[in-house]
């Protein structure tokens, strides 16, 4: 069976363009207290005029507005979404239902501890499970994304060093690392030293050993790294870093490769973050909310962000000892709704299920790798775990780039892989299938990739001119950046 067919979609203008006075989508009960004129309550000078430009539409129009727009998105429920490093797995419907239980969703964060024991138990149990899974001693669920988890972790590293006498100056980061790593290090007040990768796609231990001085606060390692390769020299690395008083931070974005097989805590990692929106199935929401818990070893526990939840007898309590903590990262407890979903997922999968899904994620990636390695250039022959990075080297000879291949995949009905990342591979195509999809779906993806490779050689314009099957053809990103139009306004509106 073909994968795609052509169909019509419906266009939809901006909500502001649909607005006209006299329509409305809201309903409120009448004011149920006495109606004091505003002037008697406020200084008229403090009162605004109407919100100029705000839309006025009916509920019917709103629903069709968003319904139509929704159909312009590709998404996980439609099919495989092999965006490398993002772990686009299935987002269970049960998670969504549980997170919406009124007794959970409608609770105020500043309730007395006695009045939110259910929520505190949710936080506590997830903390515990994540400790189990990572082999670490403490967890804080406050960071709202991987990047904030990194910031937390590096701040903890810094606090530790300060406690030892001085913060030190540098953070070592492999050149294959995600951009958030150096950015987070900088926000924590560190300078970044980049460590090259070796011929196998791993961190160059030689160079690491050279750069690892007493001025280095920590190494930020991604494991498996962004090539999908496990840093097999981890023990040696650990030795080097720790011998010189440094610590190791692990970017746990790729934790989906490891569950039940290996624990960062057993390999010398001092602190790490996880992405609940990757490994633990919470939805990406078109860009968030996510959640990036930070986990650490005993020596760093005092520095964890506060508050966290402890069990005291039968009750759950918010930690009150802030003496060494790096402080708060969120006005309340982070993206609690994601915590609920992740806990629901872990309980559903159970320990054995989590291990099995890491296994299948790794199998799927390796299956794709094996089926594609005759068609796409594999920059490193090192075995990989949950994802595989190809390059456009073969296709490039005919002028076809990674961007072209990505866009052409759209015509085949797939979301493209992550492209041009990691930076150490020219024209990287980073494929992460996850464990969710069927072999039929994987095969269909592989077949599309092979077909595109063929087209690149035989009919390259089909590829360089892609996509032609989506709502729009390629978008002009240069114009967007040069002449930014970041909001609608009646005059700039060129599209009506």
């Amino acid at each position: 069976m073909r994968r795609t067919f052509t169909n019509f979609g419906l266009e939809e203008s901006l909500i502001f363009q649909k607005s006209s006075p006299g329509k409305s989508a809201y309903s409120l009960p009448g004011l149920d207290v006495e109606d004091t004129p505003i002037e008697e309550i406020l200084d008229p000078d403090d009162v605004r005029s109407e919100v100029s430009g705000f839309p006025e539409v009916s509920e019917v129009e709103l629903i069709s507005h968003y319904t139509r727009m929704s159909t312009w998105n590709y998404h996980v429920d439609l099919g495989m979404y092999p965006l490398g490093s993002c772990t686009m797995k299935y987002n269970p419907k049960l998670n969504e239902r549980v997170a919406r239980l009124p007794g959970i969703a409608l609770t105020h964060p500043l309730l007395d501890e006695e009045l939110c024991q259910g929520n505190l138990e949710i936080l506590f149990r997830l903390q515990e499970f994540l400790e189990q899974l990572t082999g670490m001693d403490g967890v804080c669920l406050q960071p709202c994304g991987g990047a904030q988890g990194e910031l937390a972790g590096i701040l903890m590293v810094r606090a530790y060093h300060v406690q030892q006498g001085r913060p030190r100056r540098y953070v070592l980061i492999p050149d294959s690392a995600h951009g958030t790593n150096p950015a987070s290090a900088l926000m924590a007040g560190y300078e970044v030293i980049s460590i090259p990768s070796d011929g196998e796609g791993r961190i160059d231990v030689q160079v690491l050993a050279e750069k690892m001085t007493k001025d280095v606060a920590c190494l930020m390692l991604t494991n498996p790294n962004t090539m999908g390769i496990f840093e097999s020299h981890i023990e040696e690395i650990s030795q080097i870093v720790h011998d010189r008083g440094g610590l190791i931070y692990m970017d746990g974005a790729n934790f989906n490769a490891l569950m039940g097989y290996a624990r960062p805590g057993d390999m010398g990692i001092d602190v790490l973050h996880l992405n609940l929106h990757k490994t633990f199935s919470t939805p990406h929401g078109g860009g968030g909310p996510g959640s990036g818990p930070v986990a650490c070893k005993e020596i760093l526990v005092p520095y964890l962000p506060t508050p966290n939840v402890n069990q005291v007898g039968d009750a759950y309590r918010l930690s009150s000892d802030e003496s060494h903590s790096i402080g708060r990262l969120h006005a309340f407890y982070g993206n609690f709704g994601m915590v609920v979903r992740a806990l629901c997922y872990i309980l559903t999968c159970g320990g054995e299920g989590l291990k099995e899904l890491s296994e299948v994620a790794v199998l799927n990636a390796n299956y794709i790798r094996s089926r594609l390695e005759d068609h796409f250039h594999l920059p490193y022959s090192t075995p990989t775990l949950h994802e595989v990075v190809f390059s456009d080297a073969l296709q490039n000879k005919r002028g076809v780039t990674t961007l072209d291949i990505a866009k052409r995949l759209i015509d085949y009905g797939f979301h493209p892989p992550t492209i041009y990342f990691p930076l150490i591979v020219r024209g990287a195509l980073m494929i992460e299938p996850t464990e969710s999809y069927s072999k039929e779906e994987l095969d269909s993806f592989v077949d599309a990739m092979i077909a595109i490779s063929q087209e690149s050689l035989e009919d390259s314009e089909k590829v360089t001119g892609a996509p032609t099957g989506a709502k729009l053809t390629r978008l002009d990103e240069v114009q967007a950046a040069r002449h930014p139009v970041l909001r609608w306004s009646p005059d700039e509106d060129t599209a009506t």
């Binding site: 100029s52 007794g103 701040l155 995600h178 951009g179 950015a183 909310p289 407890y333 999809y437 909001r487």
Partner: protein, 447 residues
């Protein structure tokens, strides 16, 4: 395992293609010495029924606004959420997709965020807004970092009336940078002491932070603050935690603010134990290339059709790495969508009407509290009351009548341990407001 789609038979065939015998071999690059040898200490898989029952049991251990009348605010507000919001965001098209890296497959998300940015600009009366940050507190922290970058100055002026948790988050973010904080006193009205501000504002000041309505509910004199800032060459950062207030109060942009940040939770997002929330960030056009976070821009495709893309990427970590304006990557996309649906639902009339109801219902309580009010300044929907008993004890009493009382301020300000921060929204039952007032003012009535 219902979340897996590969059969044992298929596994076998795939392993053959992969050239290994057992799936464990695929993990051979992990040294034996660091392998986990025992099973995970995590329970057996639980069925759907069991999981549901477990969480339902937990839910019953919480006190929630579907069963209680609550007067807690302080950064998270219990407002009406139109039903259609959940209908929209429950479409998998919106909630199961990633950040719109591939615009041709993400126009739905992109147009929605473009509309969100526009709505935030309209409401704040600012020129540009980003696609969201984690929450109001980290949005403030990012604003402060931006001000430091822009002004190359290092002092921040921060009033006592800033939400204490916002202050803490800001402190975490600036802790290791070369930045000093100066405190700003309050006047009896509960507002920033402008004389003190004038004295504090020196030419090393990067920015002045002012929250309005402030943590104590009082409306600040933003115009005066921004005027003083301009004069000193410092940037003004206005923080809004109760976003509904913008439906009625003069927008910070009109009052010449440089950066407006805040919490968008009031706009259609459940109180949700404080998260996910929605940090919004708006500023002047001239600062847009220093703005943190993702931004959606309008452009055309190769055939000239309008479309939207993530833009100004050269500010961001994935391009600029350690030179980025922020480390943020994943933001609060779906919450931004909820906010956009909320604001489009209420529209021009609705946002005003809702804000007015909040004002008037809070005023209804305010009037009954009379001289127990701690501050004399005008308020929107929050206020501080002085108690003649332990606020915690009062709350216990209220709870027996189905009321969740206010926030005892002693938690944050030891010198305010006799005070309580109350919030009234359109959701509160007038009878409960009255009962609350009675109990607080001790005109005890048999109930």
């Amino acid at each position: 395992m219902r979340y897996l789609s590969i059969t044992p038979e298929e596994k076998k065939r795939m392993l053959e293609v992969t050239g290994v015998d057992r799936v464990e071999e695929l993990f051979d690059t992990i040294p034996k010495s660091v392998r986990l040898t025992s099973p995970l200490n995590i329970p057996q898989p639980a069925s759907e029924i069991e999981v549901l029952k477990y969480f339902q049991g937990l839910a019953e251990k919480n006190v929630s606004t579907d069963r209680f009348d609550s007067f807690l605010g302080a950064g998270t507000y219990n407002h009406f959420i139109p039903t259609i919001i959940d209908s929209v965001i429950s479409r998998a098209e919106f909630y199961t997709c990633y950040t719109p890296y591939q615009p041709e497959l993400s126009q739905g998300t992109l147009q929605a965020i473009f509309e969100f940015q526009t709505l935030i600009c309209q409401l704040t009366d600012m020129e540009v807004a980003n696609a969201s940050l984690y929450d109001g507190s980290s949005a403030l922290a990012e604003a402060v970092l931006m001000a430091v970058r822009l002004t190359k100055r290092s002092r921040l002026v921060v009033p006592e009336s800033l939400h204490p948790n916002y202050r803490k988050v800001m402190e975490t973010y600036v802790a290791n940078l070369d930045v000093q904080l100066s405190d700003l006193h309050l006047m009896d009205a509960g507002r920033v002491d402008l004389d003190h501000l004038e004295k504090t504002l020196k030419d090393d000041c990067a920015a002045v932070v002012v929250q309005s309505p402030n943590f104590f509910g009082v409306i600040e004199e933003i115009r005066e603050v921004t005027r003083l800032c301009r004069r000193a060459g410092a940037l003004s950062i206005v923080v809004v935690t109760e976003a509904i207030s913008m439906g009625l109060l003069k927008p910070p942009g009109e009052l010449d603010a440089d950066i407006v940040v805040g919490e968008g939770q009031s706009f259609g997002i459940p109180v949700g134990f404080g998260g996910p929330n929605l940090g919004f960030f708006a500023t002047r056009d001239r600062y847009k290339r220093q703005m943190p976070g993702r931004v959606v821009g309008q452009t055309v495709d190769s055939q000239g059709q309008r479309g939207f893309v993530l833009t100004l990427a050269t500010r961001e970590q994935h391009i600029r790495r350690e030179k980025a304006t922020s480390n943020i990557c994943t933001n609060q996309g779906l919450c931004a969508l909820m906010c956009a649906v909320f604001l489009s639902t209420l529209g021009k009339q609705g946002i005003r009407e809702l804000a007015e109801q909040n004002l008037k219902k809070a005023f209804y309580l305010r009037k009954q509290l009379g001289d127990r009010l701690v501050f004399s300044g005008n308020t929107f929907n929050e206020m501080v009351v002085r108690c003649d008993r332990d606020p915690t004890e009062i709350n216990r009493q209220l709870l027996t009548e189905g009321i969740v009382g206010g926030l005892p301020l002693g938690r944050y300000f030891p010198d305010r341990s006799d005070q309580m921060l109350l919030c009234v929204t359109e959701q509160n039952d007038p009878k409960k407001i009255q009962r609350l007032a009675e109990i607080l003012t001790r005109v005890e009535v048999a109930s």
